[in-house]
């Protein structure tokens, strides 16, 4: 004999057959969805086309949506940081102009050498006859190669040393960079002719080649016979190094902008000195 609860269940079976089928279908569908969710490949197959479509639409819309903002921001940045822009472009433009002029000068120099090489030889012979030196020694001294002894990257206004490279131990590099800056400032201030910069200091056997940029300058101490062709090579090295230095600063700015980098400190001195050593260490001029 069925009790009241069992009778109610029988009655529900009879009356709600369709609803029960529908509930079973929903249950099956949920199981299938759970399987898709837990299976990476299956989920990927369903979601990837949607994400790809969204990404494609976003990429296509960038020129219209973000383009004007980026352009306006760049214009504003360039307007307010002209010095930095010039500093970034200077090595590139300077190098191009310099190379062209150097090439032309080289051609001219070779032509002159061809014309006057016999004069040089005769001069050497005369010096060896009337002096104490042998002709071979004179020839050797003429051929003595220029060598890079030291390089400094110095902040132009303050004279603070950003990094140095030296083949031999010398007196304090920070003091040298300070004094170089003082001498440079003195000369440029005293003989100011339309923003020209001091470019060369001669000191007995040494020559200090100075290349000024907007915010920094590079000083290269050279021993030996410093000819024009050596000067061109040194200038190339300086421009290449400075280009790299600007790129390092730019990388740092990008890193900071994207939340990377540590505390906003500039490119470290040891990083700069590694680059100086790389560019000038074994350079043949």
């Amino acid at each position: 004999m069925m009790n009241e609860r069992e009778r109610l269940e029988v009655l529900k079976d009879i009356l709600f057959t369709d609803d029960r089928d529908y509930a079973d279908k929903i249950t099956d569908r949920i199981v299938q969805l759970e399987q898709i969710l837990h299976d990476r490949n299956k989920l990927s197959g369903k979601v990837d086309p949607i994400v790809s479509a969204q990404l494609e639409a976003f990429t296509k819309s960038i020129p219209d949506t973000l383009g004007p903002v980026i352009t306006a921001t760049l214009k504003e940045e360039i307007k307010h940081h002209k010095d930095e822009v010039v500093d970034a472009l200077y090595p590139v433009l300077g190098k191009m102009i310099k190379k062209y002029i150097a090439q032309e000068m080289k051609v001219l120099s070779e032509k002159i050498d061809e014309q006057f090489s016999f004069v040089k030889s005769a001069k050497r012979k005369i010096r060896s006859i009337f002096g104490n030196e042998k002709e071979e020694e004179l020839l050797l001294s003429e051929l003595s190669m220029a060598k890079i002894e030291q390089v400094f990257l110095i902040e132009r206004e303050s004279g603070i040393l950003k990094g140095g490279y030296s083949k031999t131990a010398t007196i304090d590099e920070e003091l040298i960079s300070g004094m170089l800056t003082a001498i440079k400032s003195f000369v440029e201030d005293a003989f100011n002719k339309g923003g020209q910069s001091l470019e060369l200091i001669e000191y007995e056997l040494y020559q200090i080649h100075i290349q000024s940029f907007v915010t920094h300058y590079v000083a290269v101490v050279i021993s030996g016979n410093y000819l024009t062709r050596s000067k061109n090579k040194v200038q190339d090295l300086i421009f290449n190094f400075y280009n790299k230095y600007m790129a390092m600063n730019l990388d740092l700015v990008m890193d900071l902008g994207q939340g990377r980098g540590e505390d906003g400190e500039p490119v470290t001195r040891s990083d700069i000195e590694k680059e100086l050593s790389k560019y000038f260490g074994n350079a043949k001029i």
């Binding site: 206004e157 303050s158 004279g159 603070i160 040393l161 003082a182 400032s185 003195f186 201030d189 400190e265």
Partner: protein, 163 residues
Amino acid sequence: MQKSKKVLLLGHFGVGKTSLIRRFVSDSFSDAYKVTIGVHITKKVVELPSGTSLSMILWDLEGTDELHLIRNAYLMGTHGVIFVFDVTRPATFQNIQRDLDIIQEKVKKVPVLVVGNKMDLVDPADVKRLLEENDIQSDYMTSAKTGDAVNEAFLEMATQLDI
């Protein structure tokens, strides 16, 4: 990481700027060339309580009674200024406010310390009265001869530069 900062010593002729630096920096170059280009540079690395190592590049400018005549090129890129006057010569501090205004105009927004030197030659009470009468605020009263307060003045500048 070691930081480097450019510190200028300014003041009238003969107030003891070079002596103060000599007292603070034990070894220094010959300053014979100061008469040639008007500047002498020395360096001292100081360790600060914060743990920072600060390299103070000290620019000792030739003394002049007319500060506005100092070459601007030497002032550029300066991180801090120590203005020195001689407590025995009122002429070196009577117009101190004008001198400080000139400095502030030439090197903007950098810490400036005012130092009265040669305290070994005077009675401190007399100097105090004299400065009060002339409404002069001095950050440090030093003696390059005895070394009194010299390190303190330079270290205060280093601390301000470390902030």
